[in-house]
Symmetry: C2
Subunit: 244 residues, 2 copies
Amino acid sequence: MFGKGKAPFEALVRKLERLAELNDEDRQALTSLPFTIETIGEDGLLIRAGEEKHHCGVLLEGYACRSKSLGSGGRQIFSFHFPGDILDVEHILLPQADHDIEAATDVSVAWVPSADLRKLTQERPAVADALWRDCLIDASVFREWVLNVGKRDPRSRVSHMLCEFATRREAAGLGKPQGAELPISHQQISDATGLTPVQVNRMLHLLVAAGIIADDGQRLKIMNSDALREIAAFDPAYLHALAA
Amino acid sequence: MFGKGKAPFEALVRKLERLAELNDEDRQALTSLPFTIETIGEDGLLIRAGEEKHHCGVLLEGYACRSKSLGSGGRQIFSFHFPGDILDVEHILLPQADHDIEAATDVSVAWVPSADLRKLTQERPAVADALWRDCLIDASVFREWVLNVGKRDPRSRVSHMLCEFATRREAAGLGKPQGAELPISHQQISDATGLTPVQVNRMLHLLVAAGIIADDGQRLKIMNSDALREIAAFDPAYLHALAA
DNA sequence: CGCCGACTTGAATTCCTTCAAGTACGGTGG
DNA sequence: CCACCGTACTTGAAGGAATTCAAGTCGGCG
């Protein structure tokens, strides 16, 4: 069973505090938002493209990812999310989901009615700032992903994706990149980078051979995050306030 | 010489009206925003990645695109913009530019101080809604581009890009996709799709051979927009309120 | 213990990129 | 008006890189 019971929005508040100056009333308002908790297993779908959604999901535990699929079968992931992230801020103003959101691991999510969140943004400018800024950073991340998938060579492409994953994980308070164990499958890396699983496998082996990562088949451990950043030419500026 | 003189923000207001219900005061406030006009020739840089920018650019005439470049030389375009678009709403809350913005044709831009725009959003909720929604749609477009560049085959990738270009052009009031003449070079298509110029050339010839587009070397004309959408499997839902 | 899913690995093939040479067009200056 | 020049586009051929295919291994879970 998931959920921290007492303070489900603790991570959310911590995140928004990096995005704007919140006062006690802001924090209070955030933590008193109504919500219902949903827990769902690995690979479960939280939101399906096309759905009308009048709630926003705050990730409490686990990892989630957002993706779009082609009729012809291909799937493209374009972001990973960590506890404290709002998975779909866009549903405050755009009820129609334009992509899928799914659990990358077992996950628990607090669903907050969009209307309450919206009201909050109208009454509390600092919260509005924080949420808006969050959207803007989201967009910045997507731009970087277009570049990653469109122009980087396979090796730096995989490396860059791992760097971002590790950096955002750290920003969510889950520990430093160096030595981090990332719960991500080759298939997910494949869907996130636009490479085939075979190619991903080969790139990872390259990195393993160089002693930069370790891969026991289940988890992927970063052994030398500086070298990884070097290969990826990773510049966290595009993460703005989310960079650690 | 560019600039409509009297009503530079006419197109902007028209666009924001599709994004939220504006009243006369909202419109009034928008049209009284202070600004300075800049005109710049094709390929000129409006904003460079890394810059601190305390103004937002409203595109008045011409086309612009946003892109990021790799140290190693590659350039990736991830959006095209038309008159009425704000090129960089993100600078309202994030002063540091994370990408380049350049003129795709000769262009004129009205620079509005971010602070004034920000004040407007604090005083006029409808304007805030419209601008926020604009950001969210922006982000949705980037997601679609990740998919386009990451997973679509070359033919539908180029087609999809052209469909979006034509659709957004139409949304800006520049005429229907069918028969539209798009002022876009092979190099730009290449940078937008992650394909080489050679490959782009070959894909365009395929489309020309099928009678779907015409290409006189300067301009690219859409002869059969339905067929183009078919090939691209173009679903404008991701453009939300921007779809025509 | 056995099954299933995820990862691994090599080989063949296909497709894209690269390279290089050539063409067409618009703009400039004579 | 014409010749020249530069840029953008065109085209074929060679080479290489990624995908696909297929068979095999490993580990966890029932």
